[in-house]
Symmetry: C2
């Protein structure tokens, strides 16, 4: 089995710690290791380092090589520019197809938190067996609340039970439902969050690209023809800007006929905002999550993410305070999603130096 770690994403809602130059996946929020290093570490006992591939915008390939030196430099695939997850996965599949078209590849993410790495590895083993039979497999997260920010997967009939994991036919994908719909989904017990983790044979996904995204498939074949020749770079640079933006969910998963879902209980979180980190990280006796130096009076349920400066607070509840060398954020946890809008405002007001 090969792993393809998608290391894109901007982590905008984790500004000002996460920045364009060092987004979320290259930072350590939850351990000494960065999220990318964690993503590699948690599959290390399942997949050899030289079978781990990482796909990332070209801008960051050097950072990736520095962060995970155990992965061969040639396995770091740089996209000239990002066009969504479908092109990103297609380009990577093209490289893997050269190595072994019948291999199973597990598409994983670098910017999510997974508490139970052993459960993940176990599920990946089962998923690989299902993928061997030609299915597109996705890992579904048991929802614990009616989140409206995720995609949901409805399960259909049960296909099998593999190594203790139930495997279901996927009935339907639904992108970010409204709250009422999300509540109904969660209550039904038949819906899972789309984790963004997929397992399939390289040849299976390759056929799906041919069938469901024919224009992109033609572009991929054009690049494939130039691979390993003097024209490789020029071809990529000519073709890639014309590739259409598409997510793997919409481009392939929602339209493919044979998709299976394996529900997993792996302690998953997308670490989507500072409020999520406040939930994930261990709190002190007053319910505060503190990174750095903090002195508080009557301060409870706060996330204090400092740098070298001393952060002091009086009479705060459920507040997020993030301090960095050049910028500071103060925001109630309920408004943590709006950090994205704040960053947008910074962009609009021309404060590029803070992005």
């Amino acid at each position: 089995m090969y792993a393809l770690i998608m290391a894109g994403g901007s982590g905008t809602r984790l500004w000002p710690y996460s920045r364009e130059a060092r987004p979320k996946q290259f930072l350590g929020f939850l351990s000494e290791r960065t999220m990318l290093q964690e993503a590699c570490q948690r599959i290390a006992s399942l997949i050899p380092d030289d079978q781990i591939f990482v796909v990332i915008s070209e801008t960051y390939t050097d950072v990736v090589r520095q962060q995970i030196p155990q992965v061969p430099a040639a396995n770091i695939i740089g996209e000239p520019e990002g066009h969504g997850t479908a092109p990103c996965i297609g380009l990577s599949a093209l490289y893997l197809r050269r190595l072994d078209p019948e291999a199973v590849m597990a598409v994983l993410t670098a910017d999510h938190y997974i508490e139970k790495a052993d459960e993940l590895r176990h599920a990946l083993g089962a998923a690989a067996q299902v993928a061997e039979e030609g299915h597109l497999v996705t890992l579904g997260i048991q929802p614990d609340r009616p989140a409206t920010g995720y995609g949901y997967i409805e399960r259909g009939e049960k296909l099998a039970r593999v190594n203790g994991h139930d495997v279901y036919q996927v009935e339907k994908f639904t992108e970010k439902p409204d709250l009422v719909t999300a509540q109904a989904f969660v209550e039904s017990g038949r819906y899972y969050w789309n984790s963004g983790m997929f397992i399939w044979k390289v040849s299976t996904i390759w056929r799906e690209f041919e069938k469901l995204m024919p224009q992109f498939y033609t572009q991929l074949m054009e690049i494939d023809a130039a691979l390993g020749t003097a024209e490789e770079r020029a071809t990529l640079e000519r073709v890639w800007p014309r590739v259409e933006n598409e997510t793997i969910d919409y481009g392939i998963m929602e339209r493919a006929e044979d998709v299976a879902v394996i529900p997993v209980d792996i302690g998953w979180s997308d670490v989507g905002s500072w409020a999520t980190l406040l939930e994930l990280l261990p709190a002190d006796g007053e319910g505060n999550v503190v990174v750095g130096q903090h002195v508080g009076l009557d301060t409870t349920g706060c996330l204090i993410h400092g740098s070298r400066r001393l952060v002091t607070t009086v009479g705060l509840e459920g507040m997020i305070v993030v301090d960095t060398e050049d910028a500071l954020l103060v925001c109630p946890k309920e408004r943590a999603q709006e950090v994205r809008d704040l960053v947008e405002k910074l962009k609009e007001s021309g404060r590029e130096e803070y992005l």
Copy 2:
């Protein structure tokens, strides 16, 4: 008339901007000038620079000389250590007595805001006339709310009207009343806040020290005997540590027989906390007072006091955010008084570097 500007005080509640090494009075909160410079500036047209004296802990005499170079260096009186306003004023009176025992001295403060400097000067002129007749005179601030943090002065019979100013006998001083008492005081219309500004002849206050604080008076005479001799410094260093702590209010004003109060409308504020500054400083269209760089979303009625860092906020109302090079404070305006307790906590936890 001589001015004696008391430049002590710690400004603890304005931490982390105000620090032990550069307390409130040496900082500019409300204008380009520091509060001490403002204190000198506002009496400049009434009292010549060489008749302005400043009394301050010895630690700060150099800072004072740098900030107000127009005042002769010899006019900066350094206390070896602070023992409250009574010893501070007594020591200063000792120096002024050498110059002119029959002169009027106006005791003023360096850490208060006075919006209407012309009104103050006018009142000081009237007060000087009253002081010439041997009264101890205090300026009373018309209270606009039942503040519990100030001393109150109850007026008695009307003594005179001087240059448009009513002059009353003082009936009683009351230190920091409880809220119910303060409300009754304000409603009665007969109470004023103790501004800490006093006007009297040097000889008058000298006699009061002799009468009401005889032990301190003896100590003052001991210092006086050594003044201008080789023993001056040694005497001060021997005597001063044994001087008892006392405020001028309790030591003299509350117990003196002949005290007059002149009510003044000078736009006075003790600039006691960040919440006061939020009220005093001009706000932008969203009711925010911003010093430095701020980008906010749905942020209203906040005080943002930054340094070189960008301060960003989402969904805040009535919050105080003070950012300095090495420390940061976040606190709702209603809790601004507790910054003092926070500083106490810093002291107790041995974080001397932030005091």
